[in-house]
Symmetry: C2
Subunit: 310 residues, 2 copies
């Protein structure tokens, strides 16, 4: 199959109205009336962001979900996406079929359609990117720079599962139920929460709790103190014992949200997050940097703050 | 340098207002009032779209220009872009400096700003993509499917230079003036032409004149007859003799426009294209496929129609 066959068979059926059947040079989108657009892009590269041999449907879904999580962190409603694929010539056709099925599943789940893309051959491994569009009410996008001293630090879900799941997939951790592995392969972006007016700052955890919390601190001109014992853990991660604490605090790929919330907004936060586990883990203060309080409130010193691409 | 250092030093200075200093999870863009958005994405991969050792500034500019050419083919006004970079860890810092300088030069030339991006390490070669946004008046986007039987086929610029320039860069063609090489490295996207209401269909030549003209034929349900002798050639390509005709007709990367124009719109077309060479090369008819007429109107049979990624 050449690129045009691939587009016609696997990708054109995923196109929404603005995608013009993927038959033109570009998509034409009428922006939602009276809304601002929110735009983000993320890559997934073989041997960097996923393992050779990973299920193509899961790769597709994680590609969308990493970007959907960025939209969630901005408080945006997802709208659509553009896709790039660079594929080795010997890739079996079943790979593309699975990849497209994964895209279709999450398009359906998150209410998005394909707007356009670019299909190339690759001389090395598989390289993918998705550009996601969403929308917010004007001036209502959640930013990293809005946290105030005294705001409480809340997180959605449980923290550190994905990093432990990756280690399990590499054969370095037990994962008898497969839960940690699933958390690594298929994150749950926290779209659909009406956080505007409640949350002062937000970010999603892609590079690790400490590092991503550090971004809010830097942009808001504050420090953060986190009680390690409060950081929510799944039973499966807890079963690995206290020695995985540092891994949980610094491991990436959770795609949970970190939220800065004034104490008087606690009730409103809990109301809009009904059905999702949310946990208060610490507080923002004047100063700079992220401090982790361990047993007896002694500060924990961590070897690394989180993932950085070099 | 890690990804955050790279973003702060090289990419944040390129961000426009909607890019929020590249300090958030996504860009927030207020769409131009009463306009439709036009969105496109293209990749540039080392050893596929550019050669190892190519000037990073030229790679950056070509990455933007390939996408700007897609916007031009839709009749859109460029607005901004998102960027992905996947870079090997041993890449010299000077590469990034040159790459960012190339982006800055073309941002300035084409009136666009950086909205956001994603920076990753690569285990193989350099991989890049850009998602470009533009805007058009509602319903005025140029499409591939609007050509009518009797429309004349026009092209901008000269055809085939870039493919010959690539061959020159590979040492397989003479290029004493360097003109063909420059055409391969730095295309001139035809943005800024007010073609709405004049042109019935348009596409840019990325994969070769014949193949891209074929896309208009397929989407418009027509055939095209091109007089090979009318296809505009640069003096530098002409100097290579008639044996490069097929290469010129099927070689990609020219980023000139193919336009379908009713004969009574000729004058209006020439008026809006003042200062740009445009040439009538044939006509659309009922039927299907692209026919090339050579000497004495005998059809030319070509071995290939143009570039396809497998």
């Amino acid at each position: 199959m050449n690129e045009f066959d691939r587009i016609a068979e696997f990708f054109a059926p995923l196109a929404g109205e603005a995608g013009l059947g993927l038959k033109d040079d570009a998509a034409v989108l009428t922006p939602p009336h009276g809304r601002q657009l929110v735009l983000t892009v993320d890559q997934m590269l073989e041997a960097v962001h996923f393992l050779p041999g990973d299920d193509p449907a899961m790769i597709a879904r994680k590609l969308l979900r990493r970007n959907l999580s960025d939209l969630a962190a901005m408080g945006a409603v997802p709208l659509g996406y553009l896709l790039t694929t660079a594929l080795p010539p010997n890739l079996p056709e079943g790979w593309l079929k699975g990849f497209a099925a994964g895209l279709a599943a999450d398009q359906n789940q998150f209410g998005i359609t394909l707007l356009g893309g670019d299909s190339s051959s690759s001389r090395t491994g598989i390289a993918l990117s998705a550009t996601l569009l969403g929308h917010v009410a004007p001036g209502q996008a959640l930013r990293r720079n809005g946290a105030k001293a005294g705001d409480e630090i809340w997180v959605t879900g449980t923290i550190g599962d994905a990093a432990l799941g990756l280690e399990a997939r590499l054969g370095n951790r037990p994962d008898p139920t497969g839960f940690l592995t699933r958390r690594s392969l298929l994150p749950e972006p926290r779209t659909g929460l009406s956080l505007a007016g409640i949350v002062n700052a937000a970010i999603d955890i892609s590079d690790g709790l400490i590092q991503d919390l550090g971004h809010i601190c830097r942009e808001s001109g504050l420090s953060a103190v986190v009680q390690a014992a409060l950081v929510p853990t799944s039973p499966e991660a807890a079963a690995l014992g206290p020695e995985v604490l540092e891994r949980r605090l610094t491991g990436g790929d959770d795609y949970e949200l970190i939220l800065a919330v004034s104490p008087e907004k606690t009730e409103a936060l809990c109301a809009v997050c009904a059905g999702i586990k949310i946990t208060r883990i610490g507080i923002f203060k004047a100063g700079e940097g992220v401090e982790i309080s361990g047993d007896n409130n002694a500060p924990l010193n961590l070897a690394s703050s989180g993932w950085k691409h070099f």
